[in-house]
Structure formats: structure tokens, C-alpha cells
């Protein structure tokens, strides 16, 4: 201890004094270079959330700023005892569970096809990237017009005359279909990355041992790409839970297809109920945080592996 104290009090030339200077400079440069990005992140995301948390404690309507009043957690009480909120909550939960399950199954299929296809591999990948890159609103219009009564070819092909957007479940079916089409490419590319890391020798050994295709999939391939699977599921679950564009374009949230994001939008922009809308935003934020907590802490998803080399 005394030697350390002494060397601090009177810096003596150490064997590698240059390195220590260098380390100090490196540390300063590191902070300097990452500061702007972190500052912007705090400003554009953390500040609005804190602002929303503050506004959520007020009874505040934009069109009537005079009667703005501090009401503690009453907005939350209003929301959490409201049937519309829980109805939209159930709709969002339904869409999330159905789309993520379908996307995983289809995405895994896509990944396996891409992993083994050698002829036209580039073409298949290009085709699959198109839904990923296309604007969600455009995709929603395309699917809506395909199923619509007046313009669509789907009823003609099926020989039916169904009003798809007139009923809750048929409308949800089209919304989920469009969502699955748009986002499966993303999940399949993440799964392809996981698949590429499963050693071929393992599968070959299982094949030699007489394992069937199904056994190889469940016993060898999937367990060895568990990390990639969990990360893909986490990203897609959070994304599906925030769904807004698709139902907004297709039904505007009518016929029991409204999601919590649309409800929050309707409070804030449609009714200018800033206090109530902010409280909903905070609840939405907390639910996303809960999803992340479940995946990272309870299911032990290693988020660091997403882009780790």
C-alpha cells in the first residue's frame, strides 16, 4: 500500500510510463467519441419518456389548457379499469402471439431453404429482402386491396364474396397475414445466421447414427442455434407488440382490431387528451420493458450476441 501511495505522491519514471499516458489518452478519446451519440440518444428517447411520465400525472387537454390539473395517478386508474384498454390489450396480445409463432415457423423454413439452396441463391435472398425493405404502409395497402370487396382478387380466386374487413376475426386474419409477410424475412435472416453456425459435422454424425430428419432438427439443429432463436424472438415480440401501421391502414382500428398503440395515438392526436395519452404511452413503454425483462432475465437471452463477432 505504501509503495502505491508513494508513487502517487511523487511520480517516478515507471518501466512503461508511455503506455499509461497512452491509456489515459485512449480513455479520453473513447468518451469524447461516444459522447455525442449517447447524448443524442438521451435527448431523443429518454427525455420524451420522462416528459410523458410527468404529463401522465395531469388532467390536461390541449384544447382546454386552462383547466390543466395535477391528479396524481388517476389517469392510470381510469385506463386500467377501462374495457376498451383491456380489449385492445387482448387484440395486441393475440396479434403478437399469432404473428411471432407463424413468423418463427415460416422463417425457419425460409432459412433452411436459403441455407441449402446453391442455384439462384442470390436471387432468393434478393426476393426475400423486398418485403423487409418495403414500406409497411405500402404492404398494408397491397394486402388490403387484395382482400377488399371492390378491388380484390382474393374473393374471385376463392369463389367467395366475403367482407373481410367487416368482421373482427377475418380482419385480424388479413392484418396478421400482412404482418407475417412483411417481417418474416428479418427473422429468417437472423435464423439463417444461427443455422450457418451449426457445425455440419454434428448433423452428419446424427445422420450416420440413423436419426430421422425430424430428430436431427429437434435434437441437433435447433438446440445448437438456441441463442440466435431467442434473440430473433425477442426482437420480433417487441416489434409486434408495438404494431400500429398495419391495422391503422387496413381498418383504422374498427371492428375490434384496435391495438394499444393506435389507442394511445387516438387519445393524444385525435382527442388531444395529453394526460391520458401520455399515461398510455408509459404503460406501453413499461409493457415493452417487461417483455425485455422476461426474455433477458428469465429466458436468459444473450442480447450481446446479436452483433458480437
Amino acid at each position: 500500500m505504501s509503495t502505491i501511495a508513494a508513487s502517487r505522491a511523487k511520480p517516478k519514471p515507471k518501466p512503461t510510463p508511455h503506455l499509461s499516458d497512452r491509456a489515459k489518452a485512449e480513455r479520453r478519446l473513447g468518451w469524447l467519441l461516444s459522447a455525442p451519440a449517447v447524448a443524442v440518444l438521451l435527448l431523443v428517447a429518454a427525455y420524451p419518456i420522462l416528459n410523458a411520465a410527468y404529463l401522465s400525472l395531469f388532467d390536461y387537454r390541449l384544447t382546454d389548457p386552462g383547466s390543466r390539473a395535477f391528479i396524481w395517478f388517476k389517469n392510470y386508474q381510469v385506463i386500467l379499469t377501462d374495457n376498451i384498454w383491456w380489449g385492445d390489450f387482448a387484440t395486441t396480445l393475440f396479434i403478437t402471439v399469432v404473428t411471432v409463432a407463424l413468423e418463427f415457423a415460416i422463417g425457419l423454413g425460409f432459412a433452411m431453404v436459403m441455407n441449402r439452396t446453391f442455384v439462384g441463391r442470390g436471387f432468393v435472398r434478393t426476393a426475400i429482402l423486398v418485403p423487409y425493405a418495403i414500406i409497411t404502409v405500402v404492404a398494408a395497402y397491397s394486402w388490403q386491396y387484395a382482400f377488399a370487396n371492390d378491388t380484390g382478387f382474393v374473393n374471385t380466386w376463392l369463389g367467395t364474396n366475403l367482407d373481410w374487413f367487416g368482421g373482427r376475426w377475418s380482419a385480424l386474419f388479413v392484418i396478421c397475414l400482412s404482418e407475417v409477410w412483411k417481417t418474416t424475412p428479418f427473422i429468417s435472416l437472423l435464423l439463417l445466421a444461427g443455422l450457418a453456425q451449426v457445425p455440419d459435422e454434428l448433423e452428419e454424425a446424427a445422420l450416420v447414427d440413423g436419426a430421422s430428419w425430424w430428430q436431427r432438427l429437434w435434437r441437433v439443429t435447433l438446440p445448437n442455434m438456441q441463442g440466435a432463436i431467442m434473440v430473433a424472438l425477442l426482437f420480433r415480440t417487441v416489434d409486434a407488440w408495438r404494431i400500429f401501421d398495419n391495422p391503422f391502414v387496413m381498418t383504422g382500428g374498427s371492428n375490434g382490431t384496435e391495438t394499444v398503440s393506435i389507442l394511445a395515438y387516438r387519445q393524444t392526436v385525435g382527442r388531444t387528451e395529453i394526460g391520458l395519452g401520455s399515461a398510455m404511452s408509459i404503460l406501453l413503454f413499461l409493457s415493452v420493458a417487461l417483455i425485455c425483462f422476461i426474455f433477458i432475465k428469465l429466458l436468459r437471452t444473450d442480447v450481446g450476441r446479436v452483433t458480437k463477432t
Binding site: R27, V113, T117, T136
Partner: protein
């Protein structure tokens, strides 16, 4: 693994099915955009008569042309700003040793999980108070919350893939850390930076939540939000054909980028884990 002939045929069939599934809605909206007049309601996949009329209509309406200008301008500015900021941060995280560097990436990841609507609702109020409502800047700023996290993660992974030896050699020859960054790393990282810019642009180009919440006129409204306000060639016409044509126009740049840079986009999305 060797693939038998029968398996190969099945793979071929599956690959064709994947391509058809991925492209069909795009082909459908293209076909829809070429339908003439009442043909839009023919309930068939293809038009009975092909026509450019709908494209003439959309390019003749200010609503669309100004939205196109807004979308391009706002997305490009947001992309540039976030890629430049992310480049510095990613270099620091990938190459330098400093306390708290783990938190740089963790905070980026946390922000990418934020629901857009949770940011949009407080901004709707704030922007009205400080005059950023319905302006380009009012959209560029929230777009950074969408594009910056992805840019930071993607660039960090690209920087980590570049061998360290070159910079170390330069530093042994007397270059400072800054010179090693500017002269060695930046040129080598250019493809990664470019890929990151494409991915960030896709995200900004795709936004609907901020576009519809934080704008009210042609002044700043981007294309996805503008589509919801479309009307047909006349007031009494369904906007379907016009929306289809406008949709195709904004999809073209995306498809071109995907066709040209398929390999790099896949590498960017998967952290380079998929080869070929």
C-alpha cells in the same frame, strides 16, 4: 453435406415458393397501379388494359410530390447524421478501452426497444410548444431515435471485423490514434458505413408513426403518412389507383437498393454471420 437429387428438386420447388410468396404482393400493387379507370374494380389480378394514367395523376398532385420531397430530404438528413454520430461511437466501442463502453451499446439497444408511439405522444405536445410541429427538423430528431441505435450496433460489428494489425502498424510508425482512425480505418470501413446508411435509410423511409403524429400539412408530411390523405383524380373517385401508383413509386428506390446490395444488406443485418 451432400444433397441427393430428390432433395435438390424439393429445394428448388421450395425456393420458387419462397420467391413467389415474397414478390406476389409487390407484383399485385404494380398491376393495380396500371389499371385504367373503372378497371380498378375488375376483381382480377391483372388489368384488362394497361395504362400510365395513375402515374400522371399522382405526379400531378402537390400532395404526392411534396411528400416525396419531404420523405427524401428528411430520411437522407436523419441517415447522414446518425451514421456520422454512430461512426465515432462505434469506433470508440470497437477499438478503444474506456470505462462505461458497455453502456454505450446497452443504451442504444434499450432505445431501439422504445415504442415509437411512446416517444411520439410527448413530442406532439412539446413540438407544438416550441414550434417544431410540422417541420423537417421536427421529424429528423425523432428519426434519430430509430436510426441511431441500429447504426451504432451495425457499425461496431463491422469495425470489429477489420483486422487490428494495420492500425497498430501505423501507430508503431508514429501515427496518433486519430490518424490511425482517419487514414486506415475509415477507408477500410467504407463498405460497412455504406451498408449501415442503407439500413438506416430504410428505417427512416418506412416511418409512419412520427409522420402521422407530428405533421399536419404538405410542409413536412412524408409519403407513408401522405398516402392516408390521398383522394382520386376527382373528388368522387376512390383513391385506390392513385395510392397504388404512389406506392410503386416509393417502392422502386428500395427494390433497386436491395437488388444492387443484397449481399451487404444481409451481412449488415446478421452481423456478418452469413457468408456468400
Amino acid at each position: 453435406m451432400r444433397t441427393s437429387k430428390r432433395a435438390r428438386i424439393w429445394l428448388g420447388v421450395a425456393a420458387i415458393a419462397v420467391v413467389v410468396w415474397a414478390l406476389m404482393p409487390v407484383v399485385w400493387i404494380v398491376s393495380l397501379s396500371f389499371k385504367h379507370g373503372d378497371d380498378i374494380d375488375n376483381k382480377q389480378f391483372w388489368p384488362t388494359q394497361w395504362s400510365w394514367d395513375n402515374y400522371k395523376t399522382v405526379f400531378g398532385t402537390d400532395l404526392f410530390t411534396s411528400a416525396l420531397r419531404n420523405s427524401l430530404g428528411i430520411s437522407l438528413i436523419a441517415t447522414t447524421v446518425s451514421v456520422v454520430l454512430a461512426m465515432f461511437a462505434a469506433y470508440a466501442v470497437a477499438r478503444l478501452d474506456f470505462p462505461g463502453k458497455r453502456w454505450v451499446l446497452v443504451s442504444a439497444l434499450a432505445v431501439s426497444m422504445f415504442p415509437a408511439i411512446s416517444i411520439a405522444t410527448p413530442l406532439f405536445n412539446l413540438w407544438r410548444e416550441i414550434g417544431l410541429y410540422d417541420t423537417w427538423a421536427g421529424l429528423v430528431i425523432p428519426y434519430l431515435a430509430l436510426t441511431l441505435p441500429l447504426s451504432m450496433w451495425t457499425l461496431t460489428s463491422f469495425f470489429r471485423q477489420i483486422p487490428r494489425d494495420l492500425e497498430q502498424a501505423a501507430q508503431v510508425d508514429g501515427a496518433t490514434t486519430w490518424q490511425a482512425f482517419r487514414r486506415i480505418l475509415v477507408p477500410l470501413a467504407a463498405p460497412g458505413v455504406f451498408t449501415t446508411a442503407i439500413l438506416a435509410f430504410f428505417i427512416a423511409w418506412n416511418d409512419f408513426v412520427f409522420g402521422i403524429t407530428l405533421t399536419s400539412t404538405d410542409k413536412a408530411r412524408p409519403v407513408p403518412a401522405a398516402l392516408a390523405f390521398f383522394s382520386g383524380a376527382s373528388e368522387f373517385q376512390q383513391p385506390t389507383a392513385a395510392i397504388a401508383a404512389a406506392s410503386v413509386v416509393v417502392t422502386i428506390p428500395v427494390v433497386v437498393l436491395v437488388m444492387l446490395f443484397q449481399r451487404r444488406i444481409v451481412a449488415g443485418l446478421t452481423g456478418g454471420a452469413v457468408k456468400g
